[in-house]
């Protein structure tokens, strides 16, 4: 699986709330597959997409699988760049403390946990997006 190959910068942009449509779950699936191919993967959460990372999600009432705990596995897949659109949070009356903490473990530092979350403005986001090889929006 990890033969020498071209590594591209993939960014997955998540814009929708987690359970109203299948986009969030499908995006997560594609993200994990891309990461399994040793690509440089980053994620952006913007617009209603910021709701995907809300803490303490409960889906019993809507009869859907709660996949929010899977975001915590992103670090294991070497996904260390999670960008959160600050304005989208503010527009919804949220702050970063309403979101799950996402970390990755640094093997070289005895598996020290480091935060993967980057709070960014839209202007910064646009700049980061322009540096990607591939941007996919969900």
């Amino acid at each position: 699986m990890s033969e020498e190959g071209i590594v591209k910068k993939f960014m997955y942009v998540n814009r929708k709330s987690p359970y109203g449509t299948i986009y969030a779950l499908e995006s997560l699936e594609v993200v994990l597959i891309t990461a399994a191919f040793d690509q440089d993967v980053s994620l952006t959460f913007t617009d209603d997409g910021v709701y995907q990372l809300m803490k303490d999600q409960k889906t019993d009432g809507i009869g859907m699988k709660n996949f929010s705990s899977t975001y915590s596995a992103l670090g294991d897949y070497e996904i260390k760049k999670i960008f959160i659109d600050k304005e989208s949070l503010e527009e919804r009356g949220l702050s970063v403390s309403d979101l799950q903490e996402l970390v990755w473990e640094d093997e070289d530092e005895d598996y020290a946990e480091k935060s993967s979350i980057n709070l960014v403005s839209r202007a910064e986001l646009s700049n980061i997006m322009s540096q990607q090889d591939i941007v996919m929006s969900f």
């Binding site: 994990l32 990461a35 399994a36 191919f37 596995a73 897949y77």
Partner: protein, 122 residues
């Protein structure tokens, strides 16, 4: 693995172990994660010709815990890294894991653990 190409879409296979019936998909993965027990894991391994030993169980138990926590079966790279972290570097490598699970550590061990096929597994 035997696949009936003429009846592939309608296979409704079940695995009989000690008089108990377990529903599996066409590749032999358990349909219901919660129906899993040690008996079915042992039966699957024996059918593949390699009965489970303690070293296999370490990996299978890890996979079940990982699924419980993250709701996914880890890709092989993730499995290897995590095994290395939890069980020691001498076990966290492809050689060790492929010796235990020659059909592919993630695929075969996930099957015995009653999990779906790992995401990112092609």
């Amino acid at each position: 693995m035997a696949v009936d190409f003429f009846n592939n879409s309608e296979v409704d296979v079940s695995l009989e172990v000690n008089g108990k019936s377990y529903e599996v998909d066409e590749e032999g993965y358990l349909a219901d994660l919660n129906a899993w027990d040690a008996d079915v894991a042992n039966a699957m391994a024996e059918a593949d010709g390699a009965p489970l030993e303690d070293n296999h169980w370490e990996v299978i138990n890890f996979l079940r815990e990982y699924y419980e926590e993250y709701q996914i079966a880890p890709a092989v790279r993730v499995l290897t890294k995590q095994i290395g972290k939890r069980l020691g570097k001498e076990k966290g490598n492809s050689k060790y894991l492929y010796e235990l699970f020659p059909y592919g550590p993630a695929k075969q061990a996930c099957k015995y653990a009653g999990l779906p096929k790992p995401t990112g597994c092609v």
